[in-house]
């Protein structure tokens, strides 16, 4: 047989804004549908999609609609004052009837079945929790939600959540001491058969991570939407063996593995190019050297295991690495 060229890509489609709802101060919920009426790809709670807003601006947003709805994707978008352009674009340029290209869905924050959950959300970090909570409720799990924010007016989906009664605790006012006490009470001591899910600003994620350090491994699930700082990282040249393709390539100090693979005609999946979306996760077959993990998707344990890496940012400090590409 002659060679079969394989081109790999994620699902992409131009969707139309069906509704544009202000669901809290500075928070807009966009509901997107396929103009040709075709079903959208299935997804599970915790999944996110890319909104390709301009050729330069692609941003990730958690889906907060129901996975049972085959025809709609809803995302909640905060107009952040320090936005890098994504949310400002949506708030200023998008309205009902606008066309937006989406990519995905993908999920690096999946809801693992458990008899008990502790959900902890800060601000716009509530969005992935909405379908998670619906699923936990449908499965008959025991769950609680701690939801902090600047003020009640700024916190999206409060009405939906209030309907769940005392499972939900709202902490408006950005009161760090109150939040800290609530975290101590919820997760200060490891609890059996319980999973912790958290999404929100870095300060909250750090506080949850610190408290979950004594929990059994795998108890904490968190999602970051901003890249972790990588200070003092040095980029040097190294070799990558592309196992499937059967070639060895050089990754120069000024290029990522992702770009070097593309330059060599290899079709690879990728999206954010800053180590936060997880699209380019690649299996490491062999390492001769030291992998320099720079992503914000894998936790410390996963990075140390060297089973996979995000080739859009992570590198090799020296020597060579063999990847399943």
């Amino acid at each position: 047989m002659t060679e079969t060229e394989t081109r790999l890509r994620e699902y992409e489609s131009d969707l139309v804004v069906e509704s544009y709802d202000v669901v809290a101060e500075d928070v807009v919920a966009l509901t997107l549908v396929n103009p040709d009426g075709q079903a959208l790809p299935a997804w599970t709670p915790g999944a996110h999609i890319d909104l390709v807003l301009t050729p330069e601006i692609t941003r990730q947003y958690s889906l907060c609609s129901s996975p049972a709805d085959a025809h709609r994707f809803t995302v909640g978008i905060l107009n952040a004052p320090n936005s890098r352009g994504g949310s400002a674009f949506v708030h200023e340029k998008v309205s009902v009837g606008s066309t937006i290209r989406i990519r995905g869905p993908r999920n690096h924050f999946p809801l693992v079945a458990s008899p008990r959950y502790v959900f902890i959300a800060g601000g716009i970090g509530i969005t992935p929790m909405i379908p998670m909570i619906a699923e936990a409720e449908a499965a008959g799990a025991d769950w609680t939600l701690l939801y902090g924010g600047r003020s009640e007016a700024s916190m999206a989906y409060i009405d939906v959540l209030r309907a769940y009664g005392e499972r939900v605790t709202l902490l408006p006012g950005n009161d760090v001491a109150l939040m800290s006490a609530a975290l101590d009470e919820r997760i200060g001591t490891p609890r059996p058969d319980t999973l912790v899910y958290t999404c929100g600003p870095e300060g909250l994620l750090g506080a949850v991570e610190a408290r979950c350090a004594t929990w059994p491994s795998g108890s904490l699930h968190l999602e970051r939407f901003a890249a972790k700082a990588t200070e003092g990282a040095v980029d040097s040249e190294f070799q990558v063996v592309l196992a499937r393709t059967g070639i060895t390539i050089t990754v120069p100090d000024d290029k990522t593995i992702f770009r070097a693979a593309e330059d060599n005609g290899v079709s690879v999946l990728g999206s954010c190019h800053e180590g936060i979306c997880g699209t380019c996760e690649t299996v490491i077959i062999d390492v001769d050297g030291e992998v320099d993990h720079r992503d914000s998707v894998l936790n410390a344990e996963e990075q140390a295991s060297n089973e996979t890496m995000m080739i859009c940012v992570s590198r090799c400090r020296s020597g060579s690495i063999t990847l399943d590409l």
């Binding site: 047989m1 994620e10 995905g104 196992a243």
Partner: protein, 336 residues
């Protein structure tokens, strides 16, 4: 041992026509299930094991809408709860078998074996050609001594057909294959190829009634919407613009770790309702699927005897590898 079969999935272990006013035993995702239809026509799926002692309910009797165990006489309602026992007036506490959510669509019975509350959050793939008047279908069923994953990997492997069944493969497969487009999302994967004009395979040209050398350009698509289904589309267009379309539907239900139920269906939008064509296609594809099944059973045997040794992947394996990834993520999310 960790499970290898997802339960958070709608499986189609039987066609609607097979489920009637009698007890039909099937196995799905390692669980024994008995299917039947109520007087009102609704499909019921119960755990096929009496709560009293080890005995399949399917070996008992359907009495009205209830099932009576053939060994001890316990009677169960459609919700799985025991409603009467012969030896005492009261039903023992907790006497019940599992009752699984069911749905009927496109001429198939779909059963949900996972947490019942989660069934509404998962979709059943649309397979309209199986029940639509614009299509004719021939089909067959087989228990296969190979895991459901091995079957999917085979269906997803576009390079295998010319080796397993060279005479039924479209001529275009033998020529330089066009690029393979693979599209992935969180829980699904699809492939697509556009072949340049070439003659139809002899069997298809004969049915369509076109000369053997008439060129058709062909679009092939393959879809993995869930672990229960693999679908292939082969759509061929003649130079005069007419289309002839084929749909190959594979309903895969894991029976246990190493065997599966395969319900295959070949649907066409030409020669509709022609019984002779049905018979002809039935012969060709029964033979084809027998060969696929033989190959998969041999592969399963190798895996069982020698274990899952190291495997070399090529770029064209992207689809099969993504299926493995999706199944593994499903199992992780189920806590399996």
């Amino acid at each position: 041992m960790t499970r290898s079969m997802p339960t958070d999935c709608w499986y189609a272990p039987a066609a609607s026509s097979e489920v009637d006013r009698d007890l039909l035993p099937v196995r799905a995702a390692g669980l024994p299930v008995v299917l039947y239809r109520t007087g009102a026509g609704d499909v019921v799926a119960l755990e096929d094991r009496c709560a009293h002692r080890a005995y399949p309910l399917s070996s008992g009797a359907l009495i009205g809408d209830t099932v009576q165990c053939g060994l001890c006489g316990f009677v169960y309602g459609t919700d799985g709860r025991c409603v009467s026992v012969p030896s005492q007036p009261n039903v023992p506490y907790g006497a019940a078998v599992a009752s699984y959510p069911t749905r009927e669509a496109d001429g198939l019975v779909w059963v949900w074996l996972g947490e019942p509350g989660r069934s509404a959050l998962h979709r059943i793939p649309d397979l309209p050609w199986l029940a639509d008047a614009g299509w004719s279908t021939v089909s067959g069923e087989e228990d296969v001594l190979a895991s459901f994953l091995l079957l999917h990997e085979n269906f997803a492997d576009v390079t295998q057909v010319p080796f397993i069944a060279p005479e039924i493969a479209p001529a275009v497969l033998g020529a330089t294959p066009p690029p393979l487009d693979v599209v992935v999302s969180e829980t699904s994967v699809s492939l697509h190829r556009d072949f340049p004009p070439a003659p139809l395979p002899a069997w298809q040209a004969e049915i369509v009634g076109s000369p053997l050398d008439t060129p058709y350009r062909t679009e092939q698509s393959g879809f993995f919407p869930s672990p229960a289904v693999w679908v292939d589309h082969w759509d061929a267009q003649a130079e005069d613009g007419t289309w002839v379309r084929l749909r190959f539907t594979h309903l895969v239900t894991p029976i246990d770790e190493s065997s599966s139920r395969l319900l295959w269906a070949v649907s066409r939008d030409f020669a509709l309702g022609n019984r002779a064509v049905d018979q002809y296609l039935d012969g060709i594809f029964t033979d084809y699927y027998d060969r696929v099944i033989d190959a998969m059973e041999i592969a399963q045997e190798v895996l069982e005897i020698d274990g899952p040794g190291p495997e070399v992947n090529v770029n064209a394996d992207a689809v099969g590898l993504k299926i493995r990834e999706i199944v593994s993520a499903l199992l992780t999310a189920e806590g399996a």
